[in-house]
Each structure stands twice: as C-alpha cells, then as structure tokens.
C-alpha cells in the first residue's frame, strides 16, 4: 500500500468565462521514505495538487473527479473535521515564502508548542521539550535561546527551518513542500534541501516536492512527475527520466535548461509552447544605426568603471544612533570591451542589483568613476551629453509584468524613447515600432494592444523592443529571465544572443543563475557583500575558479547535468 495514491484527479475552477481545468486526470503514488518531485512550468497545476491533498483549494476551486487515498483511506470521504485532524497530524505542508509563513506576533516557540499541544495532547513543558528537540533536529543553533525569539529575528534560511520544524511537529507521514527553496539563495537552498533529505531518511517520510527547478529535481528527488497544463506528461524514477525522457515535452524542457557543464552556441527551444518566429530579419540589422563598429580598433574599452562605491543611508533619527550606512557597492572596478558580454553574478545583497542602476545614472555613486568611450558620465553633466549617453545605454529589467506601463499601448511604450530623444517624428517612430515588433517575432497588431494581453515572454520581448528603439550600443540586462519559465527563458536568451551577434551590441548581464551566466557571458565578475571577489573569463571561472566563494557557489548550484 502506498503512502498516498492519487487516482485520476481533476480539479476545476468554474468562472463566468467557463470552467478552467487546473488538473486533469492526474495520477501519482508516493511511498514512505521517498521524495517525489512535481515539476512543470507556471500553469502546470503542480501547486494545485498539494492544495487538493490538503483540502485547501482556493475558492472557487473544487475536485471534480478522481480520488486521493492516504494510507488506503479516501480523503474525499472524510468530514471537514477529520480532514483537519489529518492535516498537520499526518500530512504537513511548507510554503514557498518563509518570511510570511510565520505569525509575526507570536514567538516561534509559542507557535511550535501550540501546534504540538493541539495534535499530540502533551503538557506545556513536554511540548516545549519536543519543540527543543525539533529545533535540534532541523539544526538551528542554540535552540534554547532561539525558541523564545520572534520570526523577525531569524534569517530567511533559519525561518524556513522553523517552518519545517512546525510542519514536523506531530510526526507527519507525508510532507508537501511547495517550492520550499525558491525564495532562498543558492547556498541556503542547498542546506535546506540537505536537511529535507536527511529528515526523509531518518523518519521514513514521504515528500512531495513541488518545484520549477530541474536542478533541484535532479539532486533531491527519487521519483519525478512532469506536468504540463494540468496533465501528467511523464512520470518515473528521477535518474532514468532525466537521462532518457520519453515524451517530447519533457525532452524539450530538459534541453532548454541552461547547462553549466559546457557552453553552447544557442539554447534549444521548447518551440510548441509559445509560437515564435526565429529572428532572421537581416534587413533590420543592416538598418541599425548603432555606434559599435566604429571603435572596434580602439584601445579604450567601451565602459570603464573605477572604484565605484555606493552606500544606502538609513534615515537619521534624533534618538537612535544613526546606523552605519550599508555599503551596497564597495570599491568596484571593471571594464567592458566592445562587443563583449560582461556578466555579474552574486547572491541577494551582493551588490549586483545597484550596479545596473548606477551606470545609467538612476543612482549617483558616492565615489568612483564611470567612463563611457573614454568620457566620464558621472557627476554633473551637460544635459545634452547625459541624454546622448542614456540613448546609447539601455536596460532590460527582470520583471516583465512591472517593467512596462500597464496603462499604455505597446506602440506608445516602444515609441516613447524615440520621441523623447527626438530621433524621429511620431509617424516615423510608429514605423520603427512596427519594424521592431517584426524583428522580435511579435505581430504588428500588437502595437495597438495593452500589455495585459500578453504573456510574460511576450512582454519581455516588448521590453527588449523598447530598449532597442534608440539603437543603443550598451544593453544592460538585469536578471532578464529570472521571472520566466525555463522554456521562455531559452527563447529570450536566444534573442539576446542574436542581438549581440547581429547588431554587435555590448552587454552587461546580471544574474544569480550560474548556468545562464556560463551560456551568455564572455567575462564574469563574482560579487559578494558589495565587492568583486573574482573577475575572470567566463570559461575560466567554470573550469578553474580561484576564489573560495566562487568555488562554493559553483559547488552548491543545483545541477541537472552532473
């Protein structure tokens, strides 16, 4: 008898525009002591399975067919009360964001003791002993001290440990982990996944691990089920499935995952997910009025950054001592040559995010210099010079949903910089918009629509079109694909590669994702706590990293191809 067996489960969300089927005929089995991965892109329904098991589907979702058997007992037949008993006592669940999963007004100890008392009917002191034991088990140092602290006193990783401890309070048999490490940094992610693996072994837990990350699947799970638009496309032992995927979707999905073991010229596309024409519009490249080719022989690098520093000051207070300013960027120097892709990689808080905003002057640096083609662009500049620099230096943002104004038509979004710099009149600008849309594989009809009518990948193309509208020479990409699904990521990265080769663009590429960096960049700077710890050729970093921090990052990154 399996620990949990789901048979032909269908979940639907009725709405006035018809019934949306979140899950269709999904079947899967999880045994005790195994980690079962659910993987898929957004909209695949992978989180819905967890909610359905827990009976926590959001309104108006409902199970329309199929059954869920837990230890041979049908969950659908249980009353609300019995289901609630089952939750927590036999099935535990942890969520993606440890920051918001804990009650901020109760100490973590109180929350643990409350849950333990409720399920195991222990006395307060016995419950506290158990809570301490759980803290030791999830490897929180100094449990006696930490147990009386409040959630805000824990770091993200520690908080996720507390969440796991809470889920384990009543010795559940099944743990549902919904993207448990997505909100965490790579190094913390590795620790949390290790912890889950150890707990599984020790307690013979069954785990359903929901994730979008193939690397996590490869390193953590025993079995894996691949979902696509609410249907199971393939299921099997992890090693086998990853090595020899049977279904076309799985095959293309796996091939679209950026490889960290070798550099490829292009990404494989998951072509049938979102229709896209490849870019082969040579005419566009010929028309391109960029400045890049002019200086190919020059000795001066295109962009030179020297001793750049930026600190964020906390608000001065009359009573509290004004805290020391946080050094977000600390004495950073690098240079970018013509036609090069320069990568910056680091974890959150490493200072990789302020840099793309310092270069186009969204922030002013505290000290240091930035020279574009040998001319300084920091400090007070004549308006004309600043505008001409901004025109040549454009940026692509991380979040396709917030990086374009939802209340403007696509046409006006893309035409705005053209009109702003006076490069063309309105009619000419709109013609240019049409060309850009052609080039990026969007229909011309898109020009008259509003952003909400497009998917994430299409929006990122609009964002790229806006950046290209002024014919820049330097394109800054700030985590351009980290909010996108793997398949869409492959498309966008391919577009960027094409731009680079066809238009001769120079790029600064910021990412936290090492495989993506390897695929995209010629040179890489590894950042930690505001400083560059290692700056080298991309291939050198991946084959022979020098700095201990780079080495540990490389070691900890989840890797599908290992």
């Amino acid at each position: 008898m399996s620990l949990i067996e789901i048979k032909n489960l269908s979940v639907c969300y009725p709405s006035r525009r018809g019934v949306f089927k979140a899950l269709q005929n999904v079947s899967l089995k999880v045994e005790a002591g195994e980690i079962h991965g659910l993987v898929g892109e957004s909209g695949a329904g992978k989180s819905t399975i967890g909610s359905a098991i827990m009976g926590l589907l959001e309104h108006p979702g409902e199970i329309s067919a199929g059954e869920i058997n837990f230890c041979g007992q049908s969950i659908g037949a249980l009353s609300d009360n019995a289901l609630q008993q089952l939750r927590g006592s036999s099935i535990g669940m942890i969520f993606q964001d440890p920051l918001t999963s804990l009650n901020p007004l109760m100490s973590v100890g109180e929350q643990l003791i409350e849950t333990i008392c409720y399920h195991l009917k222990l006395s307060k002191s016995a419950a506290k002993d158990r809570a301490l034991a759980l803290f030791k088990e999830v490897e929180i140092p100094e449990p006696e001290v930490r147990i009386d602290q409040y959630p805000h006193q824990f770091s993200g990783g520690m908080r996720q440990r507390v969440v796991i401890a809470l889920a384990l309070c009543s010795e559940p048999k099944l743990l549902i982990a919904d993207e448990p490490t997505t909100a965490l940094d790579v190094s913390v992610q590795a620790q949390i996944l290790d912890l889950i693996k150890r707990l599984v072994k020790k307690h013979q837990l069954g785990v359903i691990l929901v994730t979008h990350d193939m690397g996590v699947i490869a390193q953590t799970t025993d079995k894996v089920t691949v979902l696509f638009r609410g249907k199971v496309v393939e299921s099997g032992a992890t090693g086998q499935l990853l090595a020899a995927p049977q279904h076309r979707y799985t095959q293309s999905l796996l091939s679209a995952v950026p490889r960290s073991d070798k550099k490829m010229s292009r990404f494989c596309q998951v072509s049938w997910i979102e229709g896209s024409q490849p870019l082969d519009n040579r005419a566009f490249a010929k028309d391109w009025q960029g400045e890049n080719n002019l200086n190919l022989g020059s000795q001066v690098p295109m962009l030179e950054v020297k001793n750049l520093s930026l600190s964020f000051k906390a608000k001065a207070s009359i009573f509290a001592k004004t805290p020391a300013p946080t050094k977000a960027v600390d004495d950073v120097s690098f240079s970018v040559n013509y036609g090069e892709v320069f990568g910056i990689v680091g974890e959150s808080g490493s200072g990789k995010s302020p840099i793309p905003r310092l270069i186009p002057r969204l922030y002013n640096p505290d000290s240091g210099s930035i020279c574009y083609r040998g001319e300084s662009v920091v400090g007070k500049l004549p308006k004309q010079q600043l505008q001409s620099f901004r025109r040549r230096c454009q940026m692509i943002f991380q979040d396709p949903y917030s990086s374009i104004n939802p209340r403007m038509r696509v046409r006006d979004i893309i035409a705005e910089p053209i009109l702003l710099y006076g490069l063309n009149d309105r009619k000419g600008a709109y013609q240019r918009v049409d060309k850009l849309l052609d080039y990026l594989g969007l229909e011309r009809a898109a020009a008259l629509k509003y952003p909400h009518e497009f998917s994430g990948g299409q929006r990122q193309r609009i964002s790229i079109a806006r950046a290209l509208a002024t014919e820049p020479s330097l394109l800054i990409c700030d985590e351009p694909t980290s909010a996108l699904d793997v398949s869409i990521q492959a498309q966008i990265l391919n577009i960027l590669k094409d731009l680079q080769s066809e238009l001769g663009l120079t790029m600064i590429f910021i990412s936290h994702d090492l495989p993506v960096i390897r695929q995209m960049c010629d040179k890489v700077a590894v950042m930690k706590a505001g400083k560059i710890v290692e700056l080298t050729e991309s291939e050198t970093l991946f084959t022979a990293a020098q700095h201990a921090y780079s080495q540990s990052l490389l070691r900890l990154m989840p890797n599908m191809h290992r």
């Binding site: 920051l99 804990l102 805000h152 207070s317």
Partner: protein
C-alpha cells in the same frame, strides 16, 4: 503572485532599498499594518535596520506629539492674532484711542510676534486661555464647567460602540457568506449615510415628541464631585444621556464594525494563516488566537483614533440635544466669532488627540515584538 515559482522574492529584497526609509517610518503606525505580506517585509527590514528600541520609539512619538501641539498652538495663536482685532473685541465701541492703546499694551500686542507666540504658549501651559469675548468670563473656567458633559457623553457612546462594534466586525469577517453579515454590512452603510443630526432629530421625534419617554433637551440628574458633575449615577441622569449617546453611537458603531471586518479579512488572507490551517490547527485556534489577535493591533489603533472623532461629532450631537458640553460652546463661539474660545477648543481637541495617539502607540509597542525587543 503572478509568476509562481520565480526567483522573485529573492531578488526583490535589494530593490527595497530604492524606497526612502522616511516613506515608511514616517507613516502613521496603522498604515504599516495595511500592507500585505510584502508590507511586512518592509517593516521587518526597516525596523530591524534602525534597531529601534521601544522606549526610543515612544520618546520619538512623544516629541512628535509635542511638535504637533506646537503647530496646533500656532494655528490657534494665528487665529487669535490675525483674525478680527482683539482690541476691538476687548473694548467697547465708544472707547478712545488712549483706551485702545492701553488695552494693546496690556495684551502685549506691541511686542514681536515670536515673543507673543512664546507668551501665548506659556499662558496655555499655565491654563490661561484668555477671556471670552462673548461672556466676558475666563475661558478655562467655562471649559472646565463643560468638560464633564462632553467626556461622559463620549465615553458612554464610545463604550457601547466598541462593545457591539468589535463582535459584529469579527462575525462579518468570519462568516462572510451568512445573511446576517450581509444585513450588517448594508445596515452599516445605511448607518454611515445617516447624518448625526438627522438621527438625533428623529430620535427626539420618536422618544420625546411621540412617545414622551425621554427628555429631549439638556442634561439633568447631576451629582457633583468637586468640580465634576456626573449624570451617570442617577436614573434621571441616564434618561438625559441615553439619546445623545445613542446618536453618537450609531455612526461610530458602523465605522468600527466595518474597520474590524476589513482588518480581519486582511489578516485572514495572509500566508501565516494559510500555514496555520495547513498545520491542522482547529478553526477556533486559527480564527481567534491567530487571526483575531493579529488584527486587534491595527484595530486598537483605529479605535483609538476613532474615539477622537467622537469629540468632533459631539459638536453636532450637543447642538441637537442642547447638551451643555464643549461642542456646543464651540458652535456658539463660531457664531459669535468668539476667538479665544475657538482657539482654546482647538488646543483642547489637539491635546486630546495627541494623548490618545500616545496611548495607542504605547499599546502598539507593548503588543508588537518587533518594537518590544531590539
């Protein structure tokens, strides 16, 4: 929430730096609570970064309160100083220029504005609010005589609106689909839509004119304790206070119900409530120990501020019921352009709010671990 699975939360963190910290710490306390989970993250980061200890927080609030009072005093001073000619009001029509000059010197109107302002504040601190133009009596004595009436009226109506408002709000949040909730909600909208003076008039018509049960005007059945006259100790006293208090109560009650409901719904939507449910805790624990307790913090804030508005609405109620309180005094002062009384009332209301705010902040600091610790 749109891109589930993305590395969004992670990479949003550094972006929080872009917001000026003043944007948050300067917000009124209650605003901090109205954000969703992300709002929480702000507060966590920022409070953590500043390392604000509770006493510092309170001290800061105290200083802010004093500053507010100084501004209010300045407005009162400006009204006093620039509106109408105080001298004209002090002396009669037939006064000679010499008389005028004397009064001017007496009032210190020849001194620089700053000195006058400082003197004005000094006088207020000593309880000297000047002489009423209309009644020619000391303003502070007039106010002291009327204060008990207003305070008792506000307390009685505030008490009843909290007593009924909070449970109704909780019920509406926990049983969103029940017919009673729908009635409460529509009823509360009707309650907000009836102006205070109209409900007062209608009550008078019903209970005084038609039924003849309750007196329609004034305050009676008083028992004196020193300078404090109370009407709460006799049945007759209650018969006078009942209708004005009820009138005031209707509006407050509806407002409190709606706010409690909104706050609680906000908390119920958070992730930690979802996680508490996923841990299999009973509905009772989730709803009362987690959701209610967490929504009570903003609720206390709101109610504290709400009680302040009772004072303002008592102006109307007191006029309708001829209740001899401060509000009635204020309306009369406006009618007769009695500026010392106007500015004194302004300062009274300002002080009342500042004290109320401080109490709210104190409760807030005691409840919230993020301020208590550090």
């Amino acid at each position: 929430m749109l891109f589930q699975g993305a590395h969004l939360n992670n990479s949003l963190k550094p972006r929080l730096w872009n917001i000026p910290i003043s944007a948050l710490s300067s917000e009124r306390v209650l605003k901090r609570w109205q954000g969703s989970g992300l709002g929480f993250v702000f507060v966590l980061n920022i409070v953590g970064a500043i390392g604000l200890a509770m006493y510092k927080f309170l001290l800061q609030r105290l200083v802010q309160g004093v500053l507010v009072m100084l501004v209010v005093a300045f407005v009162a001073f400006a009204i006093f100083h620039f509106l109408g000619d105080p001298v004209n009001n002090m002396v009669g029509e037939s006064a000679t220029d010499a008389d005028r000059e004397m009064v001017r010197l007496q009032l210190g109107l020849d001194e620089p504005i700053v000195v006058q302002y400082i003197k004005f504040v000094g006088n207020i601190l000593q309880g000297d609010f000047g002489i009423s133009y209309r009644t020619r009596t000391s303003v502070i004595e007039q106010m002291a005589a009327r204060l008990p009436a207003t305070i008792e009226l506000s307390l009685v109506s505030g008490f009843f609106s909290i007593l009924f408002g909070i449970p109704m709000g909780i019920y509406c949040a926990l049983q969103p689909k029940s017919w009673l909730t729908r009635n409460f909600l529509v009823g509360s909208l009707v309650g907000i839509s009836i102006p205070t003076f109209l409900s007062g008039l209608l009550l008078i018509y019903l209970f005084s004119v038609t039924l003849g049960w309750l007196p329609s005007q004034g305050r009676g059945g008083l028992i004196s304790f020193g300078w404090w006259d109370t009407s709460l100790l006799t049945l007759k006293g209650w018969s006078y206070i009942l209708m004005p208090a009820l009138t005031l109560c209707i509006y407050q009650l509806t407002l409190i119900t709606r706010m409690v409901r909104a706050e609680m719904l906000e908390v119920i939507r958070t992730d930690y409530i979802k996680f508490a449910r996923a841990r299999g805790l009973s509905n009772y624990i989730v709803q009362y120990r987690h959701a209610l307790k967490n929504s009570l913090v903003p609720v206390v804030t709101i109610i504290g501020l709400q009680l302040g508005t009772v004072v303002a609405f008592s102006i109307i109620t007191e006029t309708v019921f001829n209740w001899p309180g401060l509000g009635q005094m204020f309306i009369q002062s406006i009618e007769f352009v009695d500026i010392p009384v106007m500015s004194a009332y302004l300062i009274f209301v300002g002080a009342f709010f500042v004290v109320l705010n401080l109490i709210v902040d104190l409760i807030y600091a005691l409840v919230d671990p993020r301020l208590r610790a550090a």
